[in-house]
Subunit: 231 residues, 2 copies
DNA sequence: CGAATCATTGAACGACCTCAAGTTTTGTGG
DNA sequence: CCACAAAACTTGAGGTCGTTCAATGATTCG
């Protein structure tokens, strides 16, 4: 077996689906994980309406998921960092209702649904984990709804930065300095804004000294100021 | 056993969790369904941060779910009609992350989680149904994100009416005439608008003859016009 | 019947968008 | 490695849609 598929040695195991599984069951889980060739920037992991045969976990890199609305415009639904699962939206009809694209060279673990389902029946705690992760997805969508509904552009921008900071921190990276792997346009679309507005807001935060931004590199100088903006 | 708990005789069974279960398994499922006293208008089904011991299905009436954001303001997350499940957002940490309140006198079926989990292990097709319904919830949240991000107030309003029409139709009710069970304020909040804007938009649609609205009674006179607005 | 809640309507303001031009960075082929 | 084109990003000016504030009307309920 390929070294890379060993969950036991994966630094992300505590954030991932098999979190909390006893060693013997973790070993069972490892056997269903498939490797996939790394994806290059702008390469699709899956496309809307594709038949869904697997779920995917980000191992390295990052992804953007989005939906084509009826008029053909894209709507970004979310960004995925290491340890996060993608593909749940296909559970209803067996086909993906969104597309997922690599924002940089990225690796994923593939979890074939047929095997995953069988294993869930054998391992109740894996079953619970599945539901927990699904609940997390729903909660995160609710937070996004919250953000989009009644927040000013500035609040949206600050929240976006704080959430990224939080997620990178959970991954063991710096919570004050990181690189945005997505375009301004992607952020704007995700937040229900225009890229011009995003550009201006980042410039303003930069000017106020709250962040230092250079292209895609962000340094948060005053995290509390961001929190004040969000309230 | 109370008659009301018999899923076999429930007109909603095709929309509900046990959809597609063979008769013997449906009978098993029925044994875990608990009755609950009907809820009156403005009565909470559950509150944010409550420990989640059960999921709930709307049997009659309707509900509004919402989240208190940090500043204490409410954000309406969704409206629930008969056949729809509530409570999934609690899967992550075992506590509800939203509150649910009856919009009118309403009945629910209660599905105790402990028993439901056990049964899912025994009945694989129930397990699949759970995931399917969860996928539906996620897809519906994604549609809401889509709606909130880049749609004009008019598009939001038209979409809202069309979705209600569609859902009432699926329940066997008229798709052209129904009563709104929620306040203008609730609709506004749900759509990321103000109640004044909702009022004006409904008045405008009424003026154009596309709908006829009288307080909470809506008649859709020209469903195609609504679809044109949505595109 | 009176108070409270819900809904409607008007006028003015402002946040964000649109349009447009310019700058910086990235990518490609010679 | 350079030249050039394309893409990404920034910045400015003006316009618009939806909000805010305010007043009035309709309905519900004790």
């Amino acid at each position: 077996m390929d070294y890379e598929t060993l969950c036991q040695d994966c630094r992300l195991v505590e954030l991932c689906l098999p979190y909390g599984l006893p060693k013997t069951e973790l070993e069972q889980f490892e056997t269903i994980v498939k490797n996939k060739a790394p994806l290059l920037t702008d390469q699709y992991l899956y496309q809307q309406d594709d038949k869904c045969r697997s779920l995917f976990v980000v191992k390295t890199g990052s992804f953007r998921s989005f939906i084509y609305s009826e008029d053909g415009a894209e709507q970004t639904i979310g960004f995925y960092l290491p340890g996060e699962l993608m593909g749940f939206d296909a559970f209803q009809h067996g086909r993906f209702t969104s597309s997922s694209i690599a924002l940089e060279t990225s690796k994923v673990c593939e979890l074939p649904l047929s095997k995953l389902n069988d294993l869930c029946r054998l391992i109740p705690s894996l079953q619970s984990q599945m539901l927990r992760v699904l609940g997390k997805e729903i909660e995160s969508d609710h937070n996004q709804i919250l953000l989009l509904s009644h927040r000013s552009a500035k609040e949206k921008m600050a929240t976006f930065l704080l959430r990224l900071s939080h997620r990178y921190n959970a991954l063991g990276f710096s919570k004050t300095e990181f690189n945005l792997t997505m375009k301004r346009q992607d952020i704007a679309n995700f937040l229900g804004l225009t890229n011009e507005t995003v550009s201006r807001l980042l410039a303003e935060l930069n000017h106020q000294g709250i962040i230092t931004i250079n292209r895609r590199n962000v340094k948060i100088n005053n995290i509390d100021s961001l929190k004040v903006i969000v309230e």
